[in-house]
């Protein structure tokens, strides 16, 4: 589903990734680990085409980074869910509106939007917080809103960039359980983290270690 063909993408002297060959299948759970600046976020940004490789290419389903047109990128992002350490929620909108945004941009009908948003919010355990604004929620709840926003469009892959970075260990553990459940339903999950303690919580996960922009363990 996702393939890196000898992809390089560097910034400055050492940051970025170099000559990465990697393949991730549908429904897989993958951890990308490494220290800060190792290239984990770069790998994720290449997947949702926020960055493009200088050398080689990245192919996500039928979207090829070497051929894709800028106008096609939104259609890729409708297939890829993303969650971030800082949640990236819109503070002036309530939980419902934050989650529904993903569907409005894809031109869904109101009835369909309502059904999907209520379902996904119940799935992440936030059915009772629909009209709360992000500022009125805890960090864990905000991250779950972000997950709901990513999931509501039924992505083929969920990318999580340091998803537990701002959460305490108990909430991090709950979050990993939620990501595992999502994965069990068939969505591929890719988690970039430097928090190694998360790894044992997912039994069937594949581990990819990145160091100075290169994959150091056998993939």
């Amino acid at each position: 589903m996702i393939t890196f063909f000898n992809a390089s993408c560097t910034f400055g002297k050492d940051a970025g990734i170099k000559n990465i060959n990697l393949s991730i299948n549908e429904g897989e759970f993958v951890f990308i680990t490494g220290s800060s600046g190792a290239g984990k976020s770069t790998l994720l940004r290449l997947i949702y085409m926020d960055l493009f490789p200088e050398k080689g290419k990245v192919v996500i389903r039928n979207f090829d980074s070497s051929k894709v047109r800028p106008s096609e990128i939104p259609f890729l992002r409708r297939k890829v869910g993303m969650i971030f350490q800082d949640f990236r929620l819109l503070d002036d909108r309530n939980v419902y509106q934050n989650v529904a945004l993903s569907l409005y941009v894809s031109h869904y009908k109101t009835k369909e939007i309502k059904t999907r948003v209520y379902n996904v919010l119940n799935q992440v355990g936030l059915g009772h917080r629909i009209y709360y604004r992000p500022g009125e929620l805890s960090g864990g709840e905000q991250q779950r809103v972000a997950i709901a926003r990513a999931l509501v469009k039924e992505p083929v892959v969920l990318l999580a960039d340091e998803p537990t970075g701002n959460l305490d260990p108990r909430v991090s553990s709950d979050l990993m359980s939620l990501l595992t459940k999502i994965n069990q339903k068939g969505t591929a999950v890719i988690v970039a983290t430097h928090n190694y303690s998360l790894i044992p919580r997912v039994s069937n996960a594949r581990l990819i270690q990145v160091h100075e922009g290169e994959i150091v363990n056998p993939v």
Binding site: Y48, P70, S71, P74, F75, L76, R77, R78, M82, R88, L89, L90, D92, L101, S102, Y104, V105, S106, H107, Y108, K109, T110, I113, R149, K153
Partner: protein, 288 residues
């Protein structure tokens, strides 16, 4: 349709949240439109005044004193064939003497023992021909007639009139273009500030798969709304000013400023265009 209402709602939401930057855009557009509006009405009325003066312009054709009635009739027919001429008035020697008495208060026969005033034709031209080029062409054609003694018209006056008319016209066009451009740039810069303060919304929308058009639309709606509000304010200021001039300054100046609803419609249209173009220009920098 759902997306349409969503974008409209987003546009209104943006307008409400834009605070000072939005208010600044509205004020800039309103001020520019007030200047443009006053400039337009002032220039329009000046040009009407010039046109009025121009309509009083005439050509006097003096013919030979000894011209026979037949010659005069033939000449009048010749004049009638000239398409530029709107009206022909024949002034006989007797009518000329009467005119002299009315204008100068003295009988020509008391000054001289005879009437030296020749018969003449006073010609007024059709509106499109009331310009120096047409007047000279008509005069040249008339001069060719054997019966004509002299053709007189106020050439320098006409030249001056045309010069100032052109000056007013180009000044208004230049001022209009400059004001429109300046207000678009200023409005666009303040919209840019608004967009900059909402770059997170833009980035989130793009992350969840919004196309550039989807991201752009609420900002364009917001800019257009700002333009319409600015134009509405300008219309109120202009309307009240004209009401004041027409109702309270009539003892001081003999001028009535009259504008139609179309003028106000034009202001609203121009305002919305300023807002739209300003926001288009502003959002361009944020969408790559």
């Amino acid at each position: 349709m759902i997306v349409f209402w969503f974008l409209i709602k987003e546009g209104f939401r943006g307008l409400i949240r834009s605070n000072y930057a939005g208010a600044f855009s509205i004020i800039i557009i309103a001020l520019s439109l007030v200047l443009i509006g006053f400039g337009y009405v002032g220039a329009r009325d000046t040009l009407v005044l010039v046109e009025n003066i121009r309509s009083q312009f005439d050509i006097t054709v003096f013919v030979q004193r000894d011209a026979s009635l037949n010659d005069l009739e033939n000449f009048a027919r010749e004049l009638g064939d000239i398409k530029d001429i709107e009206q022909i008035v024949y002034i006989s020697t007797d009518s000329a003497a009467t005119k002299f008495r009315l204008e100068f208060g003295e009988d020509i026969f008391n000054i001289l023992d005879y009437n030296p005033l020749p018969p003449s034709f006073t010609l007024s031209l059709k509106p499109p021909s009331r310009n120096l080029a047409s007047v000279e062409r008509v005069a040249a054609r008339i001069r060719r007639s054997a019966i004509v003694d002299e053709v007189k018209y106020r050439k320098n006056f006409l030249r001056l009139l045309e010069k100032y008319q052109r000056l007013i016209f180009f000044s208004v066009i230049t001022a209009f273009a400059l004001l429109t451009l300046i207000s678009i740039i200023l409005a666009s810069n303040s919209i840019k500030m608004t967009i900059f303060s909402r770059r997170e919304v833009i980035s989130t929308m793009k992350l969840v798969g919004a196309t550039n058009n989807f991201v752009r639309a609420p900002f364009l709606i917001e800019g257009t709304l700002e333009g319409i509000i600015g134009a509405f304010l300008a219309a109120v200021v202009i309307g009240l000013s004209f009401h004041f001039v027409n109702n309270y300054l009539q003892d001081l100046i003999e001028y009535r400023a009259i504008v139609s609803y179309r003028f106000y419609g034009g202001l609203i249209l121009l305002g919305s265009l300023m807002g739209l173009v300003g926001s288009l220009r502003a959002i361009r920098k944020f969408l790559v």
